[in-house]
């Protein structure tokens, strides 16, 4: 059986249980619950500091009404960042490379922001479809363009996350295979490739964190327009 490079994204299952289930449950087990002790252990302290800082930063542009979304957005961010980072470990499965999962996050949340805007302030929400200061002849075209842009947002959110992570994993696999195959033939070139692989892995760590952050940030932006 020939293995293609895309096989790492197949959802494997063992004894009927898919590895996706384990990969999705694992982030929940990695974050301990805060206790009522005054000084907790190091992991809890770091976790509490990070979550507080992040929520404060995220909620800055949102008004009072947007604060209802704090729990959802922060937990989404923590979940995505943990899934992405865990996927960089060898042999693990990254659920966020599956388009179905990312669309499952993007579409309902985006739709929620649009419906909230339409329900609470329909005039302002529809007003977003026409930027200020447009010349009069351009208005019909621009409204169509802005509507298309509005409907593309969930697709863009989901596909952005999927594509970034999938591309990163594929690159790592390709360059690793290259370094491995070159090692007995041209050791110097293999060494250069190995250095490239190291740099790429560092990039992937950064991308993993950044993509999760971008996802949540854009959602908060859409919320800010509509809340």
């Amino acid at each position: 059986m020939v293995l293609s490079f895309f096989d790492q994204f197949m959802s494997p299952s063992y004894l009927g249980i898919p590895l996706m289930a384990l990969a999705l449950i694992l982030p929940w087990t990695l974050y301990p619950k805060p206790t009522s002790q005054w000084i907790s252990n190091r992991v809890l302290t770091l976790q509490g500091w990070f979550i507080n800082r992040f929520t404060q930063q995220l909620m800055l542009p949102l008004g009072r009404k947007g604060h209802k979304w704090a729990l959802l957005l922060t937990s989404l961010m923590v979940f995505l960042i943990t899934l992405n980072m865990l996927g960089l470990l060898p042999y693990t499965f990254t659920p966020t490379t599956q388009l179905s999962l990312n669309m499952g996050f993007a579409v309902p949340l985006w739709l929620a922001t649009v419906l909230i805007g339409m329900r609470n302030q329909p005039t302002i929400a529809l007003g977003h479809l026409l930027p200020e200061g447009t010349p009069t002849p351009l208005i019909p075209v621009l409204i169509i363009i802005e509507t298309i842009s509005l409907f593309i947002r969930p697709i863009a959110l989901g596909v952005r996350l999927t594509a970034n992570l999938t591309a990163g994993h594929l690159l790592i696999q390709l360059i690793a295979t290259a370094a491995f195959v070159l090692a007995p033939l041209m050791p110097t070139v293999a060494l250069l490739t190995a250095t490239l692989l190291l740099l790429l892995t560092l990039l992937e760590v950064a991308v993993a964190m950044i993509q999760a952050y971008v996802f949540v940030l854009l959602l908060s932006l859409y919320l800010q327009e509509n809340v």
């Binding site: 197949m10 494997p12 063992y14 384990l22 470990l89 042999y91």
Partner: protein
């Protein structure tokens, strides 16, 4: 001087004699509640020993991650075993 006799199923695993092993396994609580209770006990033991300490290091989480890598390898072995060093792929 001798301890009070304890029922076999209530002993801890390392105290069970080899001959009593089957009785011990058969008598354990295998209902979903029992399984959750066992997982919770295991989790609490690990957490309180390695993570919930004043100066915990990276070892607590590192062991978890290495275990996760090992389990993932096991889970995917059937698929990975085709990726061996061959002359013709």
């Amino acid at each position: 001087m001798a301890d009070r006799p304890v029922p076999i199923v209530e002993k801890r695993l390392l105290d069970v004699k080899l001959g009593e092993l089957v009785t011990w396994i058969g008598g354990r609580d295998a209902t979903p509640n029992g399984i959750f209770a066992a997982l919770r006990r295991g989790h609490d033991r690990y957490y309180n020993k390695y993570i919930n300490v004043k100066k915990g290091g990276i070892g607590g989480i590192a062991m978890l991650l290495v275990g996760y890598v090992a389990i993932s390898y096991l889970w995917e072995y059937d698929h990975i075993k085709h990726d061996r060093w061959r002359k013709y792929h």
